[in-house]
Symmetry: D3
Subunit: 186 residues, 6 copies
């Protein structure tokens, strides 16, 4: 699994959640997590969460760090949702490691009661994907600046730390499941 | 999904990881997490982790809280391992909520550098299971007493809090995946 | 699994077979069967059965009871087709219980040799669905009025009885598969 | 899919539920339904249903018609249970066609309130199987003799009719799922 | 599984890779391989391989033999790719049997260093498909004429031989997997 | 995926087909192909192919090269059988590349009409495996010595060439399936 950190500003408009975006953009032919920073403004046709669509929710941030994860090893909805929750927990752990305490409710992190993140997961016939975004700054919602992680180099380290942590976790799982015997039965 | 807290002392010898143990013991016909407290002494024939077997590892604790999770909705190894990692993260979050900072490496939690937990996950032809154990007291390894959670009622609350948190997480996932549109494609 | 009976007239135009229609319309985040009564006139773009499309078949009824079943636990075509056949058999059993003898051929019921029902099943990347419709009245085809179940309250009871019978069957299966040991092998 | 009717008396002791029994006994290399008539006396080690085991239930009949169904196209528990219910409904339909009214509760048929049948379904790593048995005669339980289907040639026709009906249903499903377009999405 | 050889010239424009094309065109309700000969000119909207799309590759041949394989027994990408490689190897074996030595690299065959074939595989929510094309004549690429298989009756025999060889291989696999016991475990 | 060539003589008794043998013996936590040379004498309890068991077949060779392949990415029988056929074709291609012409029938290779190889594939709840063996010398069956590949260094090169070819093929497939769009639908 590969971690790609985009060096330049890159805006999220929701089209990046499409299957094969990473291959089409960067030619990557592995499972991947692509990390970038830019504005977030999700167009209605790319909204995967019908709740947001029905509520005509705007998913908007002037400055957001985004993680785009794609796996081709399964198209099981249950698996990508378990992975999404795990990813959310990894972000929380990383933040805690930087001294920032947040609370997790499902796929959301909260900073002092304010929603800090957005996330969605789904599948197509060929892959499964997660988008996870964290506000760097935001007028209303929680954001990294308020948490004291607002300097560019801090944000850059954070992007890298989390991208790599997920790859490590994934590879660790792949190794662990190759040394476990099947269950016995009562 | 059902959470069952055993009211009395119950010892873990590894046979509880077998498929259908919860049905056989308690008649439960749902996915379940069974929580109990007692000694831990895993017999070699019930060791699922071949690494432990090869190393002739002893999995032993004089006082351990155990969580036995069983799902029948899939027999996919990748899914039960993602769930195991997520469960481990949930325990960490609960401990943090009680003021106890631990670090997670895969399916292990560490307290001040000492291993606090044991865990294994696997599948049979009919179900997938996780065992997750936390030392309440231990001469060598990390344990809850050292972390200040040693009183019986504290341990009992902890058992209940985590069992219920996992059920809530599972049900929340099941709801979320029922409102997500399939991915578009580049 | 949830059964939703729409209190008012609701027309089936084929768009209701789309994945997530139940969530989008009623906010339901469980597997579901939605039952309603109204006209049936399936637009060509919503025809799932290519045989109908190729034959330029009209799927039309002035008064039909429709069942829309959606499961998110699998996207296996074989499973949704087995469930469709089982549902058809359940309808036949309910009718027999009301004294109406029909014959079943696959997913069709016949009343005195006339086709009484229409049905289709398929999957998307996120869910599997069944539409099953029964004519309440029809000039050409078999219909419930001819069978003596034409009063509004009779039709309403029928809708409820079958919707609930399917939920019960599904939940009964889910329980049964949680108490069966894996097969031995010769 | 092949239907094999054993010409001679054959007793069911539960070992026939094992995967690959049909290949081992008859060399059949297709999905199959094997039908035979004889006594039924299930040994405890072949009891698949833990409920029976726990209750130390005896599964016994002096004269039973047994259907042993094996599919190799999937090892999904949900699918074999849906198929088991469908098979049960098919038996009910056949009986109704012979003028015998029964009621179905899950995988059980009742004749005048007395249990007429036994059934179990499960999977191994390589196949999925169903056993379905109907008492021809029984002191306590419902049986075909009471229903007026006790003559040898009647029983033989019944065995053949049902075996073939299941094969026909299976093949009909396989054809239907090869002409259905994927679902649209809201 | 059925093999259909089209008797007349038929051009490949890429739309034939769509799921259910064989049913829609020929009413076939089995897994199938359809074989035909004609020009090849794949429109951009039917290009499945994003590498070709990105490179704005033209997939063009004035005279090509095409094999369109469709399976409905699974929608697993890994399986259809293993089948595609196996099909490519079968073509190579057939050519070798006719005295034509080629080399295989993945899903490509080379004749004297020149690319002889094109191929793609993918899935939808309902089926998995392969297109495999071999140039009969071509100005730039390898082709059957150069290999000495240019006469119409030779090409016709070749089309039939390979179509049937794949069906035989598939049916042979289906039989073999119905006589293998599950693996033991260390 | 890892290729391990055992440097010393190693005898095959059938126990190596068990899941997790490679981890247990060599600590490998990847999908793997382990290649070794030694006698072959399969004990009846390790015979996976019931046809051999029923025929009381002896699977014996005084000198055989064995390939043991294990994948943990799926437990689908269809997939491991497609992979087994593909592996067989790869061996045939390698032999052809060394000037040795063989014919393939399913998972068997024949040299001048004499059976040269043995092979079996199956799954457990945690992995899927293939054994493929080629006689180096044999009194009755085809063997590499007769084919002119009898020198120790020739055999050693052959073992390595094929082990690596399979790893390359597997990795090539994994890359290809990460650049293919889902199929359209008629």
């Amino acid at each position: 699994m590969k971690c790609i950190i985009l060096p330049d500003k890159f805006d999220y408009d929701g089209s990046q959640i499409s299957s094969l975006w990473a291959y089409n953009s960067f030619g990557v032919q592995e499972d991947s997590v692509v990390v970038f920073r830019g504005t977030c403004d999700v167009k209605i046709e790319h909204m995967i969460d019908l709740e947001d669509r029905r509520a005509n929710e705007s998913i908007w941030s002037e400055d957001m760090v985004s993680f785009i994860i794609e796996h081709f090893d399964s198209t099981d909805l249950k698996l990508i949702y378990a992975r999404q929750r795990l990813f959310t927990a990894i972000v929380r752990e990383s933040l805690a490691g930087m001294g920032v305490q947040t609370t997790r409710e499902g796929d959301d992190l909260f900073l002092k009661g304010k929603k800090l993140t957005v996330s969605i997961a789904s599948t197509s016939a060929v892959s499964q994907k997660i988008h996870f975004g964290i506000n760097v700054s935001h007028d209303i919602y929680g954001n990294m600046k308020e948490a004291g992680i607002g300097e560019d180099d801090q944000v850059a380290s954070f992007m890298q730390a989390i991208g790599k942590a997920y790859v490590r976790e994934f590879e660790d799982i792949e190794k662990d499941l190759r040394k476990s015997r099947p269950l016995g039965v009562v």
